[in-house]
Amino acid sequence: MDKPKNRAADFEKALQDRAQQKYVLRLYVAGMTPRSREAITSIKKLCEEHLQGRYEIEILDIYQHPELASAQQVIAAPTLIKELPLPLRKFIGSLSDEGRILKGLDVQPKERIACGHE
């Protein structure tokens, strides 16, 4: 067995996987406030642009599900939780800062991914 070769293959595979990584996101909002709407719009747009076809997003109103807020340790609204891929991360606020979210979600901006494929 050629270890270094295998390692390199693993790395390649990991990169590949990452590009195809499936995202499970949950957005907790507190009622349909303008801020909630803004957050929903931004995350949907972002997902469509960068994670098309490999994401799952659920929008929850914590007024309806206060127990979820406790279970998920949500304190701020809106809160976006990236459940998968691990590690779990939380984004609080109206999700207006796209660059920051992408970085936090560990998503390569589309242009770069495209570049990599070519």
């Binding site: 206060p66 304190i75 809160t79 984004f91 109206s94 800062d97």
Partner: protein, 568 residues
């Protein structure tokens, strides 16, 4: 107009209080925390903030039927439960019974990313649902400051906190918010800015290796409150705050007397001993018999069927028993009979406050009719004069309130004046007995006198205090032209006086005899003189008769002559 308004305020705004059930705390705050308002508890690490909050809820749930929510930002519910189980609080039970709810709010800076505007509605919803779930009346937030570490946007956080406290008020919750002590402010993040109704400061100070926890009400809007720093303890049953001075001096005064155990001393105190429920202080230098006098008192209490609690800060129990049996006081029998209880400990074992609490608890448990502390001077090795005084004041008040006679002994050093106590507590004492060693003619003798005895017609005499195998005894000190004599000098003087009086009576006898002889002589003389007088009288009679006979003879002769001469 202003006065009108203030009058109205007085009538309407009598602040409702929410009793905490924490021992002593409700007394210094005249009822507890402000009801339906948030209070701030601040203090450094390890000063008991979390426990204070938890006790507030546990007592509320168990004693006042007010369910509570504990919002923990730091400790997990399991940890919290574990921490307080030693105090006998079973959080799980309370939770199952719907009396308590622990809401754990975990905020980690590392996994939170701020992306735009937000609010803390999530927290509000969680609190609201927790409060509604059990119908909570009380809530503790421990400690909300963790949010400052987790959420970088202080502007939002501050406005949200302001909203949170307003929300708590609107909900009518009696809230306790804990905060870490800051460098310059009461709390690191200035929470006192938002919670302004009641601020409580907890601190721990270490002095001479002994830590004392203290509590202070920094402010309490709309209520009177004690302003001092009150020492408090976290004991086996939770917090206990001890008011520096008892709030009231309204205990009942008893007219009954209890014998002191020394007969002559009872007499010196106006007949029948100490007043029941009074405080007695026995001061003296080393070896003047303080403990012996205390033991005699214990003996007399137990002999009449009373219970006595003996705090020994100097000697071990077995040592006291042995020493006292040498002067004819058998304390062991009372220990066996369950009437006498010893508690021997070194003062340095605990801080001053812990001692007080131990004493409180033991008194509560044993319910004695007399308490002896032997000696109080040793307590000053753990606290300074003020602390000892404050502790003893409270203890004396507590005991007096329960009608317990208290006897303290106090060791004074030989250098200081006799009328001085190490702990400066003489003013607390109703009766003060001074024992003194008087050194004369190469020996030391014990002298006892009653320096003061409130409300009794006490003796002003110095008595000699004799300890013998028969027990304690007071004898008259010899008072003579040479002053007060004691011990062997007294005995010698007594012997001398006896000899002197014998000599005097002999002398008197001799002189009486002489006088009597003289009198007898004079009487004899008088008798012979009388005889002489009688003889003289008889002679005079004889002369008279002779003279008359002669006259007769002469007259007869003249007649005869005339007849012869044939006179005309």
């Amino acid at each position: 107009m202003v006065s009108d308004r203030s009058l109205v305020n007085i009538r309407q705004d009598v602040l409702a209080k929410c009793p905490t059930g924490i021992q002593g705390f409700d007394e210094i705050t005249a009822g507890g925390l402000p009801k339906g308002r948030p209070s701030l508890v601040c203090g450094g690490p390890g000063c008991g903030k979390t426990l204070f909050g938890m006790e507030f809820l546990v007592r509320g749930a168990t004693e006042f039927d007010e369910p509570g929510v504990f919002v923990s930002f730091e400790e997990r519910p399991e940890e919290l439960a574990q921490n307080v189980i030693s105090l006998g609080w079973n959080l799980q039970d309370l939770e199952t019974n719907g009396k308590l709810l622990v809401e754990y709010v975990q905020v980690e800076r590392s996994d939170i990313e701020e992306t735009g505007e937000y609010d803390l509605e999530g927290l509000f919803i969680r609190l609201a649902s927790a409060v509604d779930a059990i119908g909570a009346k009380r809530i503790v937030l421990d400690t909300v400051e963790s949010l400052f570490a987790a959420l970088p946007n202080e502007l939002i956080l501050r406005s949200e906190l302001r909203r949170l406290f307003r929300w708590l008020k609107d909900k009518g919750l009696t809230a306790m918010i804990t905060g870490e002590r800051g460098d310059r402010n009461l709390t690191r993040h200035g929470l006192e800015e938002y919670v302004s109704d009641c601020v409580i400061d907890l601190n721990v100070r270490v002095k001479s290796d002994i830590a004392t926890r203290r509590l202070r009400i920094v402010k309490y809007r709309g209520s009177r409150h004690g302003t001092n720093e009150y020492p408090f303890l976290i004991g086996a049953t939770g917090f206990s705050v001890m008011p520096i001075t008892s709030i009231n001096l309204d205990y009942a005064t008893l007219m009954e007397r209890v014998p002191s155990g020394v007969e002559r001393l009872d007499t010196m105190l106006g007949g029948s001993g100490y007043y029941k429920g009074s405080s007695v202080l026995i001061t003296g230098t080393a070896g003047t018999g303080k403990s012996s006098l205390a033991s005699a008192f214990a003996q007399s209490i137990c002999a009449t069927g009373g219970k006595c609690l003996y705090f020994a800060f100097e000697e071990a129990v077995s040592q006291i028993l042995r020493n006292m049996s040498s002067i004819g006081i058998n304390l062991g029998q009372w220990v066996d009979a369950g009437l006498l209880k010893f508690h021997a400990s070194r003062p340095t074992t605990f801080g001053m406050e812990m001692h007080l609490l131990t004493m409180y608890n033991m008194v509560k448990e044993f319910n004695p009719s007399a308490v002896i502390i032997d000696p109080i001077s040793n307590l000053s090795s753990v606290g300074n004069e003020e602390e000892v005084k404050s502790v003893l004041t409270r203890f004396v008040d507590y005991l007096k309130g329960r009608g317990i006679t208290t006897l303290f002994t106090d060791l004074t050093s030989g250098k200081t004046a006799g009328e001085y106590t190490e702990a400066a507590i003489s003013s607390l004492m109703d009766t003060w007995i001074l024992l003194r060693n008087i050194e004369t003619n190469g020996e030391r003798n014990r002298a006892l006198f009653v320096l003061k005895a409130r409300g009794t017609d006490h003796s002003n005499q110095v008595r000699e205090f004799v300890l013998s195998s028969q027990g304690l005894e007071l004898t008259d000190a010899y008072l003579g032209p040479e002053g007060v004599l004691m011990g062997s000098a007294r005995v010698a003087q007594e012997v001398r006086a006896q000899a002197e009086s014998m000599r005097r009576s002999q002398e008197l006898k001799g002189r009486t005899r002489g006088l009597e002889t003289r009198r007898a002589m004079l009487e004899a003389q008088m008798a012979s003189l009388k005889q002489e007088v009688i003889c003289l009288d008889e002679e005079v009679e004889m002369f008279k008769v002779e003279a008359m006979a002669q006259d007769d003879a002469l007259a007869k002769g003249r007649d005869d002559m005339a007849r012869i001469r044939k006179a005309d």
